[in-house]
Symmetry: C2
Subunit: 155 residues, 2 copies
């Protein structure tokens, strides 16, 4: 990851659909070099993928919430099964496994408040491993789409 790679990564975060040629021009290298660099970044796992960012309203997901969940026992089996089953639910869009009094933060979406309520009653309340969960409606969510590398640690 030199300066060139960082610049390429930054541009692809800004607009993943711009042409290799444009990226090459902006960072000041030949298109073929740029192409090869992007390939390597992809292969090394630095670039994990390219994804369109879609308006949740257009996906009929007008309501969002964060569910803070506590489960027991915290064994690998139970934790893994819980995570896997969450991942299968269409309403679940992201899961944070965390340390602290809560074990998970689950970012969920639904058509409206009624669907959110029904979803939580059907998929959360009834779980055997669920100890408690608290639901917080999300008023707004702003996510940074372009992240720069943080400065290296001085030795």
């Amino acid at each position: 990851m030199d300066e060139l790679d960082s610049a390429i990564v930054r541009l692809l975060q800004e607009d993943a659909r711009q042409s290799n040629r444009d990226i090459a021009r902006k960072v000041g290298i030949a298109p073929s070099t740029c192409l090869e660099r992007i390939r390597l970044l992809r292969k090394r796992g630095v670039i994990r993928g390219y994804h369109a960012d879609i308006d949740l309203n257009a996906l009929n997901r007008g309501v969002q919430a964060i569910v803070a969940a506590q489960i027991r026992p915290l064994t690998r089996d139970v934790v893994d099964a819980f995570e896997r089953s969450l991942a299968q639910l269409p309403e679940v869009i992201s899961v944070f496994t965390i340390a602290g009094s809560d074990d998970f933060l689950v970012h969920v979406t639904a058509q409206d408040i009624d669907h959110l309520h029904a979803f939580l009653l059907e998929r959360f309340t009834s779980r055997r491993e669920m100890v408690t969960f608290r639901t917080s409606i999300i008023y707004q969510h702003h996510s940074k789409q372009v992240l720069d590398p943080l400065p290296e640690v001085r030795h």
Copy 2:
């Protein structure tokens, strides 16, 4: 948003860098039609952008945490200023404004635990509007990259 649009949106979520030609072939329409549909989806704001997904470790962001923050007073001025100042911090990658006992969930990243600690001490502890905040280290974060529309509500 008909079936065709949904299919295009799904494909662009899976891989935003595939060619218009490939997308057209996969959904079974002419490339020119596909191009026009993608343009309209973009124009209508259904597609908000295309972004490369980058490995946080490669960005020197090996540690993640969620900070649940409570601020007062909850006036528009204070809330807006708080959100704006968070957005400027390189460590902050996403902010949820929520209802409930906490007002914000702030997703932050840092080089390591020491930097996270220093960051929180410098940028959170000292704020005048901050009533309390609790920090939870993130062990894992899984985010769905492809979201389908939720079923329409029956009338």
